[in-house]
Structures are given as structure tokens and as C-alpha cells.
Symmetry: C2
Subunit: 253 residues, 2 copies
């Protein structure tokens, strides 16, 4: 059997079901490359299940040819793929799931607290007020104008945009709020963003999380704990939303 | 102190942090009206904390004048407001939170597994492919054309739409997939929905959850367990999404 387990972002986020599945697994692949975890998760897992084979998985262990072995083992053993947050929110492990279903392996999904939930919930913004979500990557050969196009399109519809920031743990690269602000302002060909209110969100769900509201350029001047970081570009606010945004402005003075 | 605790939708979803907060509370308001819970949650809470005053809260206990008492008690006691899913996803308890912050009461938020996470994660669809989310309510004095307008607008942008269905537990009313299909097809003034592929989702995250893919009119003919139900109206699918939609089609034959 193959069990996908969402770990949330902290030991505090572990669910009863996640703990039960970690305890009864024969093999546990711990995804250490799609996001960061607040606590020493490997240690926690080894304590929960000293009997299991724990594989500290890199991308090469959970993509491509390696998936074959993982699925083969799932036919006779209880194999857990454990990842930060929720197992499928960013479709990271969809390919493993699809492969397993194709090959008639029994599959179970254990949901975890996801960043998307926390963002939609914690900020005091309505889930109905969010448009399409985007990820901002570092500009390489081409500039990611598609990101500002999505933000513009959402703004036209009076919808907020959750902007996830490039995170590549194996390359030790994690985009910070000031970097993201610089990139966005450079891409802002219509000038809609230079006086746009936004939220800077650092380490959401961690003990030292920090949330600030400011006009976008000024967000880059605030002090944040290290990444993971993200942004919300705000559309027009209703009165309750206004209250919360003012709260996030005051609380990071 | 005032602690908002998300319970998820099943005892299996309880997090370490939620259990800790339920155990150390003096007073626990259990929200029993915004959504449904798979397990007998009141019994579970009483077992976790026999010492606490447990209030099986109706809407009138958590809205309007009653909020004042709750906040006053939070100044001297450890008060928990526990709700299904995540505490703020549908902004249900935002007003209590805002009031507490205004009155300088110390506040803590304990996130829970939310329906939005599960929907964005379980279906094999990309979170980046979802547009604005909508709630379909029963047509009363006016017809909710705004709902189909959002679906049309999302489809034009090649984005899926998560359609939440009317749920009023205090009035024992919960819209089913067949009811929702009828309402949507009646509102479908451009005829975009009558051959549109969609997902019917019943009791997501429960042990007897059921997910079916079909063209919208045919979804109404499938057998689903009782609500909570919801729909996803699908835009163009990429190959991985196609695989999963075919899976949801086969699995509910």
C-alpha cells in the first residue's frame, strides 16, 4: 500500500491520522526538497517509528526512474511518502500517484495543513476574493511577464493574488520578499503595482511568522525572518478586510 | 486568551496542537452550524477535556451580542472556539477575531484541515488552474446569475471553478449535487454548461467520500452519499489532469 502523508509545517500540525500512518509504515520517504519544515522532522519520525526504513528523499528519489522502485515496494510493504504541507497542493507528487493508480497499487491520502489554507484563512481576506494563484520565479532567459499579467487580470476583476515565491531547497535558493518586490516592480509595465497595497508573509504557520501590510515598494524595507516568504497583492478591500489589513500594517511597525 | 481551533472534518484530522488546546481550555464553544463533522465531535472533546465547560454553539452563540460575553471571558479564562475545517476559511468567525483584536484580547489560531485544501489537492487538479471560488445558494427572490457569470469568466480564462453548495445546518438544509446541477442548468443562459465536464464531490475527507467526473447534466444521475456536496466545473485539462478526471470517471461507474 502507498500512503501519501501531509505533515503540515511543524510537529504541532501533525494529525492523528498522519501519526498513525507514520507509526505503521515499513518504509517512509521524507520529502525534504519541496518546502521547509519548522521542526527536525526526521528526528520526530524516527522517534514515532524506530522500526521503519526512513529515506531522507531528494528530488531524484521521488521523480523519474526511482518512482518505479517505490511503487514496486508498495505492492508488498506499507510505503509512506511524507511531505511538508499537504501532499498534492502543488501537484508535486501527482506523477507518483498517477503511476500507482495505473499499476493498481492501493493508495491512501492523508491530508495535511497546507500553506494555501493558512494563507486564505489567516490574513482576514475572503477566500471568494482570491483569483488565480501564481508562482514568481527568478528571471533567467526570459522575464516572467505572465505573473504580472495574472495580477493585472485579477485586479481588473477585483480579486486578490497569492504570489508564491521561488523555492529550490536543493539549490539552497529561496526568494525573499525584497527580491520579489524588485522583480515585480521591474516587470510592472502598466505601473499598477508601484502604489498597490500588498501583504508580505514570512514563515506562515511557524512560531516566528511575520505578516506585514504596506504599499508594495515599502514592503521591501521591512525586516522579515528568513524564507519561506510569499506575497498577496490586494484588490479593493471590504470593511472587514480593511480592518485586518490595518491590523497587519500596525503589527509590523 | 482566545484560541480558534480548526478541527478538520473527522477525529483523524485533529492536529497535535488542536488536541493540546482542547485539553487546556477552560471553556470550549463548539461551532455546530457552519459545517458537518464525520465523528461525534462533542463526545471526543468531552473525553479530551472533562474539566472544561463545553458549549454546543448555535449561530446565536457565536454571532451578535453573544460575542461580547465570549470575549469578556477570554480576558480571564482560556476560551476555545472550535470549528469544523479551518477556523477562518469561509470568514465565518472573522467578526469574533476582529472584535477580540480591537479589545486587546490575546488571540491564537490553530489551523485545521480545510475543505478548500482537500478540494485543491485530492482531485488531481492544479491549484494554479483554479479561478475565483463561488457558493451556489437556492434561488429565492432573485436568481443567482452571478454564479454562472463567475463560472463563464473562469472558463474564458481556462480556469476551473470550485462551486460550494448552500449549507444551512440550523435549517437542516444542504444542497445536493442533483439540485445544484438543476439550478446551474436553468441559469446557464449562454449554454456553456450543458456539455461541460464537471466533478461531483460528496463528503470529501470522510470515510465514505465519493468523487465522480461526468458531463454536468449526467452528474445528477449518479448516486452520492448525503451532503456535504460540492462541484468543480472544469476548464481545459492538461495531460496529468486528464488522467485524474478519467480516473474519477471510471471509479464512479
Amino acid at each position: 500500500m502507498l500512503v501519501f502523508v501531509g505533515l503540515g509545517y511543524s510537529t504541532r500540525h501533525l494529525t492523528m491520522e498522519a501519526i498513525e500512518e507514520l507509526r505503521s509504515a515499513d518504509v517512509i520517504y521524507v520529502d525534504t526538497y519541496t518546502s521547509m519544515y519548522e521542526d527536525p522532522i526526521i528526528k520526530v519520525i524516527l522517534e514515532l517509528n524506530p522500526r521503519a526504513e526512513v529515506i531522507v528523499a531528494r528530488r531524484s528519489d521521488l521523480e523519474g526512474a526511482a518512482v518505479n522502485e517505490l511503487i514496486e515496494r508498495s505492492k508488498t510493504e506499507r510505503v509512506v511518502v511524507a511531505s511538508p504541507g499537504d501532499p498534492f497542493i502543488a501537484t508535486t507528487h501527482d506523477a507518483i500517484l498517477a503511476d500507482a493508480l495505473r499499476r493498481d497499487v492501493k493508495v491512501k491520502v492523508v491530508h495535511g495543513i497546507s500553506f494555501i489554507t493558512m494563507a486564505f484563512s489567516r490574513l482576514g481576506l475572503q477566500v471568494y476574493k482570491f483569483g488565480k494563484t501564481v508562482t514568481l520565479v527568478y528571471p533567467h532567459s526570459s522575464k516572467p511577464y505572465s505573473v504580472v499579467d495574472v495580477i493585472y487580470d485579477n485586479l481588473k476583476r477585483n480579486l486578490h493574488t497569492l504570489v508564491l515565491l521561488d523555492l529550490d531547497i536543493e539549490k539552497s535558493r529561496a526568494m525573499s520578499i525584497p527580491e520579489a518586490v524588485d522583480i515585480l516592480l521591474e516587470l510592472d509595465y502598466l505601473g499598477f503595482l508601484k502604489d498597490r497595497l500588498a501583504l508580505g508573509i514570512a514563515r506562515l504557520g511557524w512560531r516566528d511568522e511575520k505578516i506585514c501590510a504596506e504599499v508594495l515598494p515599502n514592503l521591501a524595507l521591512k525586516a522579515f525572518p528568513p524564507p519561506p516568504h510569499s506575497l498577496v497583492i490586494l484588490a479593493r478591500l471590504d470593511p472587514v478586510e480593511e480592518f485586518f489589513i490595518e491590523y497587519w500594517r500596525q503589527s509590523c511597525r
